[in-house]
């Protein structure tokens, strides 16, 4: 899993496909980093992602549960139209903000 930590903020650079096969690895690594760095904000970067199924929704919900206990937030960035559809349909957008890029 590619990630970056800036203070209490963790950015997870998600792979091209997020499914049941790789969700578990992302989950485990993310939790270790969150724990070690006292992470409050988790940003899911979908720049490279063009496929995600409900396993990815489980990953987002799980991380939200962890950081919301300390008043944290989860965000989505660089989500393409397909990913936005999945996020909206699942209802996860109720707990997660989608960062809208400025269109120049």
């Amino acid at each position: 899993m590619k990630y970056q930590v800036q203070e209490n903020c963790l950015t997870i650079y998600l792979p091209g496909e997020v499914d049941d096969h790789n969700a578990d690895g992302i989950r485990r690594e993310a939790d270790a980093v969150i724990d070690r760095n006292h992470i409050k904000y988790v940003i899911f970067d979908f720049e490279k992602t063009d496929f995600m199924d409900s396993s990815g929704i489980g990953v987002i919900m799980g991380r939200y549960k962890t950081v919301s206990l300390i008043g944290g937030e989860v965000w989505a960035v660089h989500a393409n139209e397909r990913i936005r559809k999945i996020l909206t349909l699942s209802g996860v957008t109720k707990i997660m903000q989608i960062y809208e890029e400025e269109t120049v």
Binding site: S54, M61, I86, L89, S90
Partner: protein, 152 residues
């Protein structure tokens, strides 16, 4: 392309085969000349059904076999995902959004909801101890003929 065509694949119940399954189905589907969105919808639905077979049907038993049958009849695409796993005791309950028997694994409980959202029809047949078969249908290219055949 008009007419009928069928294909069938069988593979082990391993999570690494989920990607293979959706790509195989998507590639078979291309002869219907689907839109990018139609392919993505079917891929998501197939991924959900295969994931269910892997984690619920066989509960991680990697030697179980999953079978996918695809059929094309005119512009109707049918895909059946079946396993010989443990089956579902209460199908209606399992199909409820957010319902999951494995909350400790952070399952979202959205699998069947996604299948229903992305396909025109989803039918589930299951018998405890015998296995589950999920039959899904999607009409490809709805309303597209009208504008593709228009002359300038």
């Amino acid at each position: 392309m008009k007419g009928t065509n069928e294909m069938e694949i069988r593979f082990d119940s391993r999570s690494e085969n989920e990607g293979f399954a959706r790509v195989a189905v998507a590639s078979f589907m291309t002869q219907l000349n689907p839109t990018v969105e139609e392919v993505a919808d079917v891929k998501t639905a197939v991924s959900e059904a295969v994931t269910n077979a892997v984690i619920h049907g066989y509960e991680g038993r990697r030697t179980g076999k999953i079978c996918i049958r695809c059929k094309i009849r005119e512009n109707v695409f049918t895909v059946e995902v079946s396993d010989s796993g443990k089956g579902i005791r209460n199908v209606d309950e399992a199909m409820q959004p957010m319902f999951t028997t494995k909350p400790e694994q952070e399952r979202s409980g959205m699998g069947f909801a996604f299948m229903e959202a992305f396909m025109d029809r989803v039918e589930v047949e299951s018998e405890p101890g015998r296995g589950t078969c999920v039959k899904m249908e999607r009409t490809v290219g709805k309303g597209r003929e009208i504008w593709t055949t228009q002359s300038l």
